[in-house]
Each structure stands twice: as structure tokens, then as C-alpha cells.
Amino acid sequence: MAAQHRTKGEPAVTSAPLTRDTEITGTTSRLSGMSLTLGYQRRIVAEGLTVSIPDQSFTVIIGPNACGKSTLLRALARALRPSSGTVLLDGRDIHELPARTVARTLGLLPQSAIAPDGITVADLVARGRYPHQGLLRQWSAEDERVVREAMEATGVAELADAYVDELSGGQRQRVWIAMALAQQTPLLLLDEPTTYLDIAHQIEVLELCARLHEEQGRTLVAVLHDLNQAARYATHLIAMRDGTVVAEGDPRTVVTEELVERVFGIRCRVLDDPETGTPLVIPAAGRRHRAARQPAGVGAGGTGRESTVD
């Protein structure tokens, strides 16, 4: 739905998000990382990394495997303590804030989330209320309302009594997002929410994210693998390589042929997405494919051998 809004009247749309983006960058950022050094035990993933997440943006982090994008997300979510530098949430060091305060401001949906055996959808979504509950405040009327709304917003309300183990991958991902929504945080961080989903479920999840961002005014940060999806849905793009930010800003200006080559090391062409007008990255064809397009006889002999060698 969100993408359809953007499709209507292509020239007008290109300017509208731009002005909104300048407004965003002009305003504040509740979440930022200042000269972060990030790593695990002996391996350093990133050094001197500085990023800020514009408020009310749908920020997408892209980059090749092992470039440190998930690590950055984990650091921003307080799941990883930087070896130097600070992550600031509302102007304060996130590691000095009480865990519960952070959990009421910032939600994280990690890749590592495990659905407990034999849990129902409603029970799992309800667990998102944990930071708002206590020993004597286990299930307030507000908890009930927020969980119901989260399930409705993600379209899993009719699955409430189903077991999570029995759901499809796309449904399960929507349930996890519902749980994160029930946490009622203005900031929501999603680590590769579309990985392992087929194309239909990827679109389903991204449309949901775009809707949450537009209708509920939440700040979303997601790590994605698909460059075209990132360009289509993000209002703010962060491109990373080898632990550094190569470029950031509106995807319409950021995604260029040079950037893709610098970040992913591949040659490509960037076209306008015929659906949305956002950048569409087409990787350059390999030798084999170019050969196949030539008249029979010219490159055909080599094609077969090359494909086995490849």
C-alpha cells in the first residue's frame, strides 16, 4: 500500500520525500553512535564509526556480508558494548541508562530470536509487554489493548491462538514484528527481517514496515540485503563497507553506479524503478551472459566450458 502511494504522480512524489528528508536531517536524532569501535573478543569489526539515525525515518543499512552492519545495529540496540565510543539515546550513554528505560524507548528484533516450544501467537506477542510490566502488574487493560492492536496492525489477529511452530516463515516474521510493536517503542531496530523469506513474504514484511513508519510515525532501522528493496523502502540509507560508512542519505541521491561498485565491488547500471521511480540496480552481465547474447557460433563454443569452469 505504501509503495502505491509513492507510485502515483511520479514527478511530484520525487520532490515530496526529499523535502521531508531535509526536514528530518534538519531536526533531531534520538539515536546516534559516536566514534564507535566495535568487535567481538579479538576481532575488530569497525573503528571510528559515527552514525546518526534521523527521527521518524525508515533507515536501512546495507553493505556486503561481514561489513559490520548487523554489528552496528546490535551496538545501537545496546546488545553489544562498544570497546570505545558511545551510543547516545536521547543524549545519554545508552549503557548508563537503566535497561528498562532503554527497553521502553528502543525495540530490537534480532536474527537470533527463538520462539519457545508450544507458544501461541498471542502469548508470544504479549511478551513484548515485558518492559511495561511488573510482578504485581502482569496484565493491565492497556497491555491487552496494545497487544490486540499490534496483532491487528501486522495482520496476525486471526492467528492469535495458533502455535508459532506451525506458521509459515512470513507469518512468523509478522508475529515477531507484532511482538516488537507491542513493546511500544518510538524506535524499532530490525536485523535482516526479510532473510530466509521468499519474495512475496519479503514484500509483505517491507510493506508492513513502511506502513508502521508512515502511519505510526515510528523510527525504523533495518538491515537489509537487497539493494533495490532498500532503495525502494528506505527514507534514509546507510551504505557500509569494511566497518565504515561509505555513504548515507536519501537513497535517490545515494544509490549510484559508483557507490555500488565501491560498496559491493560489482559493476552495474542504475535505472529508475518503473514502479516507484527509486533507483534500480542492475548488475552488469558476466562474460558468459554477454557471450550468449551474441549470434550462435561466435561465443557458443566457449560458453559451455566456461559455465563448467565457473
Binding site: 546488545a79 530490537l108 528484533l109 534480532p110 537470533s112
Partner: protein, 345 residues
Amino acid sequence: MKTTVVLRGGGWSLRIRPRAVAVGGACALVAFAIAVLSIGTGDYPMTPAEVLRALTGSAPATDTFIVRELRLPRVAAALLVGAALALSGAVFQSLIRNPLGSPDLLGFTQGASTGALVMIVLVGGQTAAVAAGAVVGGLATGVLIYLLAWRHGLHGYRLVLVGIGVAAVLAGLNGYLITRAQIIEAARAMLWLTGSVDGRGWEDVIPLLIVLAVAAPVLLLGCARPLHMLEMGDELAGGLGVRRELVRFTALGAAVLLSAVSAATAGPVSFVALISPQVARRLTRAPGPNLLPALCLGAALLVAADFVGQRLIPDRLLPVGVVTGALGGIYLTWLLSTERKANRL
């Protein structure tokens, strides 16, 4: 029956699973009934009514003495050891996210045994010394495993690997200690290693009662909710505001203490810690550690096992550990066959 029922008042709200409450309540009732039955049987038989009168203090002095001083301590030991082991097993299974978690698997039981065997074989200590040895051994093993497994936080997988390793080393050490023993001490050591509540007095029961009175509320009220969250993964739990290391340290400490002190009271009674949480889960059909139902079920299981052990073979008392071992075998066989029928194995 609805899976959850909510009770609300001004400013407070409780979310209750009726099925879990029913399972816990039923197990507590069964435990109580078997306890009364068990107290009433013996060379001087008493009806349940007489037992209850003696417990409440409105019976003849002889009855009251027999019940309160001779028979109640044994039954209380069975109830408390069962409850403590089941609770510790439920915590371990939740912490390592694996239904095989139990103090036997993770080496804490072997540690308690080492402490007790050192006292029996090398020092020649009496009951109190052996009990103290078991507690010290169990706790020291807990500290050792925690230190070896800790690396930027405690991870379930590391805990399992380190625990199995420590358990293997300690099992070897325990075997060596028995080979060093004289025949009488060796027999005593073997009896201790089987696990028994025979001849336990109040002096054996009171320490466990105190530990359980402290550890159970800490776990049930303080740790149960965050443990639910930790079962979904560390990062997610952290994102929900769970103070992971604090919760894990507290839960692990309480569970190690429970298993060490129950070993001091009854020796390493096998399988109760492994089975009770699993059976409780199957009965409640609720996700999460199911601490309270497991606790009640463990108490019922052990007091029933002791009751059976006293009467299975006439004129011959079976230590409770033999009965729980047999029950464990039966349960695992049943589990294997049902899982195979359901095509999960």
C-alpha cells in the same frame, strides 16, 4: 478452559494459567495425601485421621511422638528434596534451553558426591560432616563451572560443555575415592551415592527447609518472568530490558544451592531433577520454565517413590534413589516410543 485468566484490582493485575494452577494444586494434593499415607504405615499403623490429629497436636502423646519425631522427618525430607531437585532442574533446563538440563548432566551432583566421598573415605566423618562435604563440594563445583564457562557473559552452550567435562572428571575422581576406601566405608559410600531418605531426622531436614524457603521465592517471584524472556534468546531478552547476567547468576546460584543441599540431605537422588520439569510441562502445556508446577510435581514424585520403595519388597527397604532411577528409565522409554509414534524421532 481459557488458557489464561486475568485478575485485576486497583493498580494490580495478575495473569494466571488455570491449567498450570490445576496441575500444581493436584500435585500438591497428591504429595500431601501420599505423605499422610506414608506416615500412617509401618510397624505401628495409623489411620489418616489419626495422622492428621497427631500433626495438628490433638492426639495421644505416643502418636504425636511417633509422627512428629520419627516419621515426619523422613517424609518431609522426601517432599523437600523432591521439590528442591525439580526446581533446580527446571531452572537448568530453562537456562541452557535444553530439556536434558539437570544437575547430574552439568556436574553439580558429581561435585556434591565428591565432597561427601572425601568426608566418608578420607576424613571418616559422620552424617553432619558428610552433609557439609556435599554442600561444599556442590557449591565449589558451581563456582568452578561458572568461572570456566564465563566469557563475556554466560552462554548456555558453554555451560553444557564445561559442565559435562567437569562431571566426567569428577565421576572419575569419585570412582578413585571409592577404590581407596575400606570395605565398610565403601559400603557406606555406595549407599550414600544411591540416594536415600531412610532414617533422616530434623537435623537433616531443617537446613534444606531454610534453603528452599529462601531460594524458592527468589526463583518463583524474582527469576521466573525474566527466565521466560531469556528462553527467546539473549539479544531479544536484553532488548526487552532483562538484566541478563544478574538473572542468570541469581538463578544459577539458587539452583546450584538447591541441588547441593538436597544432595546433602538425601544423596544424589537420580532423575527427579530431569523428569519433573518435563512432565510438568507436558501436563500444563504452557511454555516457559513452569517452576511452580515442577516443584509440586517433584515433591509428589519423590514422596511417592519413597512410599513405593518402602513397600515394594516385603521386609526389604529400597533406597528412594533406586525407585527414581527405575521411574526415570520407564519415563525415557515411554518418551522414546511416543516421540517415535509421532515421527519426531
